[in-house]
Amino acid sequence: MTKSAVLTGRHFMMGNIATAEGALAAGCRFAAGYPITPATEVAERLAERLPEVGGTFLQMEDEIASIAAVIGAAWGGKKALTATSGPGISLMLENIGFALGTETPCVIVNVMRGGPTTGIPSVELQGDVIQPRRGSHGDYQIIALAPSSVQECFDFTVDAFNFAERFRTPVFVLTDAFLGHMREEVLVPEPEAIRLTDRNLFPRGVDTEALPGFLDTDVAPMPVFGNGHKAHVTSSCHDAYGRRNVVDASALDVFIRKLNDKIEKHRDEIVRVTSDIEGAEIVLLSYGSIFRCARAAVEVGKSEGLPLGWFKLETLWPFADQEIAALAERVKRIIVLENNLGQMFHYVQAAAAGKAQVSFLPPRVLGELHEIEDILKAVREVRQ
């Protein structure tokens, strides 16, 4: 009997397992990876589950090969994923740029750990949130989602595949050691209730000499391999037909802009924030696992009569600058909570553009969640 790709029902599940199950529910049928703490459970789960649903998992010789194989499988028509942690992402960055340049749909999970460099593998930090945006060389736009619960590990991984397929681009899911190893209730819907997006395919019987398959800001149909499209796929500067042009700088201008604009143009379709700012003067802005602390602090603070609200970034990239600008018009103060020395903080500050005062509450970088009392203490201080 064929096993189900969607484990419909109520589960008590680890975050990394939920991420893997989200991938399977989204239609992922190829994954490649290399062991790394604290992400390994994603690969272990997929190694067991992918063959059951007709897929393939390969443990590669390193992370560079893992992302390369994922991109290769995506061109072979598969929905594909790799999961790693900071050091692995650092190794993958060149080929992530390749995926951006060739418009390859794929999903990259970063279960963030304590860095920089080898750091402490088992400690949770949010130190890699700018990395997807600026890590690979050159100008580009990317999509990154930040789940804050085990349920969201499942849901956002499904969303990541949908975005990857819709926009033909690599998409990041940024979880962390805390979320990855935490166990919570997860509700997996019926397969029919999971909305899935599939890439727009190149028309059958047509080759890429006749029809453009690249550089459309509304996303060109993908000439996946094996269908006789005779696609020429290069990450070097190319035109809409995939023809390399490395002699004309104006072609480079088009190449860079089209790829950027493809995401920029559709940012309203992608950017996702949630908030509760009813009657709030001070808003705690956060994302990922640390959002849990922000929400809890707002609940406690409100019961004490503090005029608090919360604002959650569900997507980190493209950046929710317009949404934050609107927030800054409505409230006096934004306090940014993140488990690093202030990374998204600078983007938030720029987006608020002085309309609201933006401050950063530095955590102790011990891989701990923020203490609610520490947060409220900071709130009381800024009120004075």
């Binding site: 063959p51 090969a65 061109w75 028509g77 391999f225 696609a231 796929v233």
Partner: protein, 278 residues
């Protein structure tokens, strides 16, 4: 018949929009470019039955963009890793990697040995010109010891790889070496390599007159091909030669042709079992 009416019998395999080559006059790449197409033609395969993958460097431009087929032109050193994902997704296609010695044995050496170890069905053609041609003649892991290059101005102090021995040690199931002086032999070998159900590796020792010949003093295209002619010895002949007689010689022929379980097929059987459909 006028000369303009003549069309090369393999021209149908060339991408219509690919009007020029990036390769220098006298480059050996054209010999392999033609040999691969000749092999595909003689095997009766269509280009749609193949997916080509190349890396970075002059020889990576053999399939990209010239071959009218699915072609993935990848990052430096990584074509085999990309090809691994393609083969997993499209097990019925002939996945063919064409790249150079620098791409495959220096920056990409890890992927080469691991693909050979896995015995994944793909064919790797390695153009070994003993130099980094595209970047202007820097020493490679295949440059003979003592030769002067732009980054070894006092002579190369390092030992070169014997790439065929390397992939043999890693477990490849088909291994051959020829030079550009042996175009017919390359075609014959390529036909076997493409059909091999396993990891097949074909090294083609090739002249780079511009960046190798000129800078190392090995001469022009004709002189280098003359050198290949004079110094190539078959495997059978090499077997009867003393080690000191083999110094500076290029041993050519098919070194390995063995059978081992192939990765994708093995995974397919495991998948059928896991799915409960076997």
């Amino acid at each position: 018949m006028s000369i303009t009416a003549f069309e090369h019998p393999l021209a149908k395999y060339i991408r219509p929009s690919a009007k020029t080559t990036a390769n220098c006059p006298g480059c050996g790449n054209g010999i392999l470019a033609q040999a691969i197409l000749q092999a595909i033609d003689e095997l009766g395969l269509t280009m749609d039955a193949c997916v080509f993958v190349s890396g970075i460097g002059c020889s990576a431009w053999i399939p990209s963009p010239s071959y009218f087929a699915d072609v993935l032109h990848t990052t430096h050193g990584r074509p085999i890793a990309f090809a691994t994902g393609i083969k997993a997704a499209l097990p019925d296609k002939h996945v063919i990697v064409v790249s150079g010695d620098g791409d495959l044995t220096a920056i990409g050496g890890n992927h080469l040995i691991h693909a050979a170890r896995r015995n994944i069905a793909m064919t790797v053609f390695c153009v070994n010109n003993g130099i980094y041609g595209m970047t202007g003649g820097q020493v490679a892991p295949t440059t003979p010891i003592g030769l002067t290059t732009v980054t070894t101005p006092f002579g190369n102090a390092e030992n070169p790889f014997d790439i065929c021995e390397l992939v043999k040690g890693a477990g490849a199931t088909f291994i051959a070496r020829w030079t550009t002086y042996h175009p017919r032999q390359i075609v014959k070998t390529a036909k076997k390599a493409i059909q091999k159900k396993g990891f097949s590796f074909v090294e083609v020792v090739s002249q780079c007159p511009v960046e190798f010949g000129r800078k190392t003093g090995m001469g022009n295209t004709v002189q280098m091909m003359e050198h290949y002619k004079q110094n190539s010895v078959t495997i059978a002949r090499a077997a009867s030669m003393k080690p000191e007689e083999l110094t500076g010689k290029i041993v050519v022929g098919e070194f390995v042709d063995i059978e081992k379980p192939e990765l994708i097929e093995t995974l397919g059987r495991m998948r059928a079992k896991a799915m409960g459909t076997n």
